[in-house]
């Protein structure tokens, strides 16, 4: 398999890995115990998906790298997650809104990948789809409650939407990697997911009385390996154990 398709698998793997790392920061800090557990559950689902995808990518790459080496020993420029998932959590409003925007992308993505010519990837898609459908439902319910809630919750949700919205453009920006994956019948072009994403996202925002800002030419580059200033800090924390004690296991 050519390297482009490894790159495509790393994109699929790094998105849940990095968002899972971000969400796990909430553990012990969420506004209520019930939501603390819900966020930790979501993080564990995402990290579980990342583990399967990294293991698969490492096996196809054939250089003997396992999930741990790919997660903990790659440098910032080698990560292929979109910028959206590495941004700081901010407040609870921003956290649930990002989960909503991201899950609305993952649902049609995994649905499409059920038909991947890569049988292992199709199996991972089937498992992940059930998980992200729940994430989407839970996050959408929060968007509705906070967006159409109190003056304060609405203000915070609108601020979160203004902050996150520009980073969603990247989800649908195609390039050679995605074209190659689509042509090989392994993956999907990001642009093909936008109609489904719009259909899932826009009605909820409208019902929640939230207005997305106008699209601008801004295009984040995380999936090309060009990350925001937040990514290095996230990796420093995520990778510190393997960096300090290479090969450590427990």
């Amino acid at each position: 398999m050519p390297d482009l398709n490894i790159d495509y698998l790393l994109r699929l793997a790094d998105n849940p890995l990095i968002l899972g790392q971000r969400l796990s920061e909430w553990c012990g800090h969420a506004p209520v115990l019930e939501e603390d557990l819900a966020l930790a559950n979501t993080a564990l689902d995402l990290i579980g998906q990342a583990r399967l995808l990294l293991t698969h990518a490492g096996a196809l790459e054939g250089n003997g790298r396992d999930e741990d080496q790919l997660a903990f020993l790659r440098s910032e420029r080698e990560f292929r997650n979109c910028t959206l998932v590495e941004l700081p959590n901010g407040d609870f409003a921003r956290t649930v809104l990002r989960n909503f925007l991201f899950s609305a992308h993952q649902v049609p993505l995994w649905e499409g990948l059920l038909g991947s010519r890569d049988a292992q990837l199709a199996a991972i898609a089937a498992k992940s789809l059930k998980e992200v459908r729940y994430h989407l439902r839970h996050a959408a319910d929060w968007v509705l409650r906070l967006g159409a809630g109190t003056e304060e919750s609405h203000r915070r949700m609108q601020a979160a939407l203004d902050y996150l919205w520009p980073y969603t453009t990247e989800l649908f920006a195609g390039d050679a990697v995605e074209e190659a994956a689509a042509a090989a019948g392994i993956g999907l072009a990001g642009s093909s997911l936008q109609p489904r994403w719009d259909a899932a996202v826009l009605p909820v925002l409208q019902e929640a009385a939230l207005s997305p800002p106008a699209r601008t030419p801004f295009l984040s580059q995380g999936k090309l390996g060009v990350h925001s200033e937040h990514m290095g800090h996230l990796l420093a924390e995520m990778q510190t154990m393997q960096r300090a004690y290479p090969g450590a296991q427990w």
């Binding site: 209520v32 115990l33 019930e34 939501e35 557990l37 819900a38 559950n41 729940y134 439902r137 839970h138 319910d141 409650r145």
Partner: protein
């Protein structure tokens, strides 16, 4: 109700092989839909169930613990209410 506090909900879970929903605990949630989702995250993490009921705790009417003697003690000496005095036909005598 204190407007800063979510209401309390009682959670009932039916296990994979169970016929009835059993009470398993309580949680706080702003409304029924979120209570079901919270119950899923708190009480079914280890595959405990295949169906969830939630009910607002303040919608449950409970018997008065003080009234226990008159409520329950009178049944104590009515052993004839247990169906153990009947001679069953041999074919069904495994009950």
């Amino acid at each position: 109700m204190d407007r800063n506090e979510w209401p309390l909900w009682e959670v009932f879970i039916r296990s994979r092989n169970g016929l009835d929903h059993k009470h398993c605990g309580s949680l706080h949630a702003p409304d029924a839909r979120m209570a079901l989702q919270n119950a899923r995250d708190i009480y079914t993490r280890r595959m405990e169930g295949v169906s969830i009921w939630v009910v607002r705790s303040d919608q449950i009417h409970a018997s008065d613990p003080e009234a226990k003697p008159e409520m329950f003690d009178p049944a104590e000496d009515k052993i004839y209410r247990h169906p153990t005095f009947y001679k069953l036909p041999r074919e069904v005598d495994h009950m």
